[in-house]
Symmetry: C2
DNA sequence: ACCTGAACACCGTTCAAGT
DNA sequence: ACCTGAACACCGTTCAAGT
């Protein structure tokens, strides 16, 4: 059509599993979980939807691969800290940060908790508890408890992000939540009403760390 | 066809929100989460799929109503115990038992944590922590931490149940999980390999209670 | 070996038409 | 007011046909 038609044709880069996963992550981050369909993915990769199946087995696998991509590096690099408890905190905060940045990771973890990266996480956490002096017989329970706390946060954060994404208004979402929260009679729900303001104004990271410290304190309590 | 054809025609009971929810629960319990479709539901109620929309707004609402139905009663009746910590344990165990009996409740909680029944749960838990002597300023964090631990268990239990449901063989599922679990080099994952046997043989209820006690011990630690 | 895109099976949801 | 069931829009996935 135009005069620069004769410049070398844009070499279409061939598809690969990495490019598919990268495109999936871009859609998930930019347009939300519901926007990820094989048709949308094919369009963003300028290919047919069937082509994707040559590189990933199905949507579950694709979601797992995307999760693994953003999670594994964060977990691998985490775990620093002079005291063992700090190292455990650092690992947990690594996951926290990933979920804040990519809420769909929270959805995926809540649905399919045992991603490969979670094994690395369990390893690091167990090492931390061991270094804290937790007896061998309690290591598994401590690790499991921390993982489950993490998964619970993931579920809650992902649900909140999904609602935010729909209404584009964080304050409105929180107001709605607090309204439902305080729907019961104050006489029947004194603590809920007492703590409703904190629900509205709490800092997620601070609450996350406070809960983490509860588990760490409980674990410290198990020292021989 | 047969001679008792002239008995009074089976009076077809009219539809209602309760009957729809009850039928949904029956499908979820009996045939699994994937079996719940509006077509299957309509068939089991001997009606058209459009009729259901007269009683429930959409599938999300239906799932929430089903969850509320099995969860609210369990939570309302729980919370007994002579010591405050026992009362908190009792509430948490109530949810544990519901999820063991109806794994789809775990999926739903992991996806949509703030069901109405969860407000009652938060109320009871907060009362327990207060009675344990947790300072007012830490009540919200303690309650949130316990809820998130519960949600994490819900996610994990539901995922396990989904896998069990597919392969009809709990041992096989566990073997596969442990195999993936111990896939890494023993030198790189010493704790994972050390604890793999416990992953295979652990009692869910015991592990759940052990994690719960970690949080309770941490909370007790906050006493003024 | 890898890509194309129409076709298939199956959803949730709507709605004109009935009673 | 409530029910019926075909129709619609939209999925994930498959597959014959191409290169």
């Amino acid at each position: 059509m135009s005069s620069n038609d004769h410049q070398p044709k844009q070499q279409k880069p061939s598809l690969s599993r990495e490019r598919v996963v990268a495109a999936a992550i871009a859609i998930l981050d930019g347009e939300g979980e519901n926007a990820l369909t094989f048709r949308a993915l094919a369009k963003s990769l300028s290919t047919g939807s069937g082509a994707i199946y040559w590189h990933v087995a199905d949507k579950r696998t694709l979601l797992a691969a995307a999760t693994e991509h953003v999670l594994s590096e964060a977990i691998a690099q985490s775990g620093r800290g002079t005291h063992p408890a700090d190292a455990v905190r650092d690992v947990a905060l690594g996951v926290f940060d990933v979920i804040e940045a990519h809420p769909w990771v929270g959805t995926e973890l809540a649905r399919e908790p045992w991603q490969p990266a979670m094994t690395t996480l369990f390893e690091k956490i167990s090492a931390g508890f061991d270094a804290m002096g937790v007896p061998r017989s309690a290591l598994f329970y401590c690790g499991s408890a921390l993982v489950q706390y993490l998964l619970g946060f993931a579920a809650q954060a992902a649900a909140a992000a999904r609602h935010d994404f729909q209404s584009q208004d964080r304050t409105e979402v929180l107001t709605t939540l607090v309204a439902r929260w305080t729907q019961g009679e104050p006489a029947d729900y004194p603590y809920v009403h007492l703590l409703a303001d904190e629900l509205r104004s709490h800092d997620e990271r601070e609450a996350f760390l406070a809960g983490l410290d509860l588990i760490l304190a409980g674990a410290r309590n198990l020292q021989g």
